[in-house]
Amino acid sequence: MSHQFPAIIVVLPLVVSFFIFFSGWWVKRAGYPLAVGALICCVFLSFAILLAVLGKGPIHYWLGGWEPPWGIEYRIDHLNAIMLVLISGLSMLVAVHAKKSVERELPAKTALFWSLFLLFVTGLLGICITADLFNLFVLLEVTSLSGYALIAMGEKKAVFAGFRYVVIGTMGASFYLLGVGYLYIATGSLNMADLSQLLPELINSKAILAGFAFILIGLSIKMALFPLHGWLPDAYTYAPSAVSAVVAPLMTKVMAYAIIRVMFTVFRAEFPISILQVNDLMVWFGTLAILFGGVMALSQRDFKRMLSYVIIAEIGYIVGGIGVANVTAMQGAIFHIVNDAVMMACLFLVAGLVMYRTNGHRIADFKGIFRTMPFTAFVCTVGALAVIGVPPTCGFFSKWYLLLGGIQAHQWGFVTALLVSTLINVALFFRVFDKGLYVHSNKKGPDIAGPSNNPYAGEAPLSMLLPAVILALAILLIGIFNQFIVTNVIHFAVPVGL
């Protein structure tokens, strides 16, 4: 049974997704328990896979028994095992959280929401598990299409934001497909392991070069790497809060994963680094993304929009870390993929909690949350400190590896950008804290905006709050046990050849 897990983890949410869609015509309420049930199964499966990988090394799974390179192969090593855990864990928590907010924000479309939600997760899991470039494209499209639909379900402006995302996202996917096409023409293979055997001989071919460039640009668009980020802020701001809580942390991180795969598994490390030296370019784009994202985030009044720009900056961290291209920085980049997903999910859940109480997600809506919603405020504090990079939250440790890698490689521009971004994040999040902490400027005595006067006083329902609290604790625990995670998992996830 256990050797079928790689297939089950993708097929299960897919099947349940269709089931929810059709059953939604009769039973509206079935979506939530089914989706959460399926995702809990996925969490267990992903942990089982992770343990298997840790114990026995990479897993190969031939879909339908067809031998690669003709059939589709699923190949799971430490890198994608940890991605699987991340995706299933986060989406499970967001799903638990989403029930109430979906009932409020999308009362007429619950079944549709759950169906698309699972489809989206299916796509993400598939992208991470597959070892086939074309299969990756298919699942990328599954993810994107369900993502477009989910985002467009949101506020008034979400339709336009979603449309913009469709246009740009489709371009990204097309670039990717084009690149894969070039590689296929040149080598006749789509299997990653197979390609990595074939490509070194063709290293001087212009077609390979073009294919590599197209893939890289396509994934960068999907990843919202500056300056290809235009679609992201609107899409994530106006999406329903449950949607942004799952799309925002995961989509961009999975794309970062795909870039690592393509750069270091499909092509071997020498090709992008020694021959093309594309990594220096990546460091510079990463640096620019960090600074641009930070500055733009500073000028936002909307919490979700601010977070969107923070994501753009965080993508800069990851891409820069990949570009620095030494073991330490790569550990940092991979660790930051994990950490950033957790902390962004945490903060978007906070946005959801505040949204549930105040019907808004501007920073001004955070007024007095330390008093009215103490647990939410706690979660928000932990998440924000993680983004800033205050120890002992997990954000500090990935930043530590990135900085140390940058110093080892003498990438002073990148190091400076990381440090500056720390300060920018301080300014960003302490604005939120100020709003939350200081409700009554220049008045003494019992404050007027106390719980009794606030119609929205009190925490959001437990089912919404609990996932956020779990994430906050996860941030702290990942931080405290970071050494365990890094030496046992992430260390092995670093691509060979660096």
Partner: protein, 518 residues
């Protein structure tokens, strides 16, 4: 079970106690008396724990405790040594007194958000303990940031625009400093692969792989990282933070924050760079010059102040640089003096702040020029103030004398007689700025209540309320007066018997460790 309370686990308790207290405070926010008793019980327990470690450390050497592995080659670990104990003893002892005092002060003024206040205070103590006992730079950094962030709500406690601005300034200076600290730690780690404090310093091997100039730059990064020590020109957050309630000022100036800064500088100079390397790089003289500059300039600033607490803030800046000067002279005597000045200045400065707070809480007066006649209304308070003020300028028989004497001896020992001059001039100027306070409090003519007569009709209500207010304040008066009397008495006792809490022995042991038994 008994194992958990054995001496090996005491370092752990020093951080567990404040964090548990913080949580208990949070959960008993609705019952003020319970909340304050947690603070008091916790502070007493912490004080006991810290004090109980000093005989052991003096006898058997440092107590080490490793929590877990944090990063490759870096453990999250505590090492209780003599130097750390000096700082921890200061913080832990003063926490009790400040807690008692804040009950009186906060309730007298009916301050808002008292739960947040006590919660943040306990967290700040957690930070201070961690800084004192951290066995390497990264562990120290963790607690350093905890200290910075937990004091932010305290500085901005009043929530007035001015207070929030002060809070932002505080964060801007200290977190920017934190970034410099981080980069310095990273570079250190990059060079020598460890960040553990060692008695002889760890950076010496780096001299072979890098230039002197880089090492000097990194030293300045460390210095900027310890912006908490308020050396000029990174001092201006400290006077601005004066808008906070007095117990917070006491925390900033005496209990934890600035002391963490100078403590950090001592750690860097002695245990990261090491005395030899400091001499090789010529950094001692540079640091001493910065400190000398700060001492003199801060004194002049202090003379120019009319706001009592602002004046005290500049006084702190100058005294801190005095500690830095002691370290920078790099001689055993002066370093002993610097270490002694941490607790001694703590006790004296807290006396002054508690006095200033009491004056404000009872009479509502904040500036020096208004103080006329206060000496007669509040004799104990002003008496204590007098003791603190003389202590600052190093008049015997007050604690300040001992530490200043040691630093002065150190200046002679190291041969830089110029700095001896600075010490003397600095101490004289200390007298100059305290003089107006004493003069106006004890000797100035009490103004008639004429200002009140002019618009009596409007103010009648206010005035009656004031009287009532003062009466109700009397009840809490004792809570304020007792701690400050205790600290004043200690300021004297520490001079007569400098070995209370074995502080003198600890300082000597710490210096002996650094100089290898000189």
């Amino acid at each position: 079970m008994s194992d958990l309370f054995s001496i090996a686990y005491r370092p752990v308790w020093t951080v567990i106690i404040p964090s548990v207290v913080a949580l208990l405070i949070l959960f008993s926010g609705k019952r003020p008396n319970a909340r304050e008793s947690w603070t008091l019980i916790g502070s007493a327990a912490l004080c006991y724990t810290v004090l109980s470690m000093s005989p052991v450390v003096l006898k058997y050497g440092p107590i080490q405790f490793i929590w877990f592995n944090l990063l490759p080659g870096i453990d999250f670990a505590f090492k209780v040594d003599a130097l750390g104990l000096i700082f921890a003893t200061t913080s832990a002892c003063l926490w009790i007194l400040v807690s008692i005092y804040s009950i009186g002060y906060m309730r007298t003024l009916k301050e808002h958000a008292q739960t947040r206040f006590y919660f943040s205070f306990a967290l700040a103590l957690l930070g201070a303990m961690g800084i004192a006992f951290a066995s390497n730079l990264v562990t120290m950094f963790v607690f350093y940031e905890i200290l910075t962030i937990s004091t932010y709500p305290l500085v901005a406690h009043e929530e007035s625009p001015e207070a929030i601005t002060a809070g932002h300034k505080y964060l801007a200076y200290l977190l920017t400093g934190g970034v410099f600290f981080l980069i310095a730690i990273l570079v250190t780690y990059f060079w020598v692969g460890t960040t553990d404090f060692s008695y002889q310093g760890i950076l010496k091997p780096a001299l072979s792989s890098t230039s002197k100039f880089t090492l000097q730059i990194v030293f300045f990064c460390f210095l900027l990282g310890f912006a908490k020590a308020a050396w000029m020109p990174v001092h201006s957050w400290l006077p601005s933070a004066m808008v906070a309630p007095t117990p917070v000022s006491a925390l900033l100036h005496a209990v934890a924050v600035v002391k963490a800064g100078v403590f950090g500088i001592i750690r860097i100079v002695c245990h990261i760079y090491g005395i030899d390397l400091m001499h090789t790089l010529g950094l001692g003289l540079v640091l001493a010059a910065i400190a000398a500059f700060t001492i003199i300039v801060a004194n002049f600033y202090a003379i120019g102040q009319n706001n009592l607490k602002r004046m005290l803030a500049y006084s702190t800046i100058n005294q801190l640089s005095f500690i830095i000067l002691g370290v920078a002279l790099l001689s055993p005597m002066s370093i002993t003096g610097a270490m002694l000045h941490i607790p001694f200045h703590g006790f004296m400065k807290i006396t002054l702040f508690l006095c200033a707070g009491t004056i404000t809480a009872i009479t509502g007066k904040k500036t020096i020029s208004e103080l006329a006649g206060v000496g007669r209304i509040l004799p104990v308070t002003l008496g204590a103030f007098l003791i603190g003020a003389f202590g600052m300028s190093g008049v015997p028989p007050l604690a300040g004398f001992i530490s200043k004497w040691h630093v002065a001896l150190g200046a002679v020992e190291s041969g830089y007689l110029f700095f001896l001059l600075i010490i003397v001039v600095g101490s004289l100027l200390d007298v100059v700025y305290f003089f107006p306070v004493i003069r106006s409090a004890f000797f100035a003519k009490v103004p008639e209540d004429e200002t009140l007569k002019g618009d009596m009709e409007e103010k009648v209500d206010v005035y009656a309320e004031k009287i009532r207010g003062i009466e109700s304040r009397r009840a809490l008066y004792l809570f304020m007066i007792v701690p400050l009397a205790i600290t004043a008495i200690f300021s004297i006792l520490l001079c007569l018997f400098p070995n209370i809490f074995s502080i003198y022995d600890l300082a000597q042991t710490a210096v002996k460790n650094i100089f290898g038994g000189v």
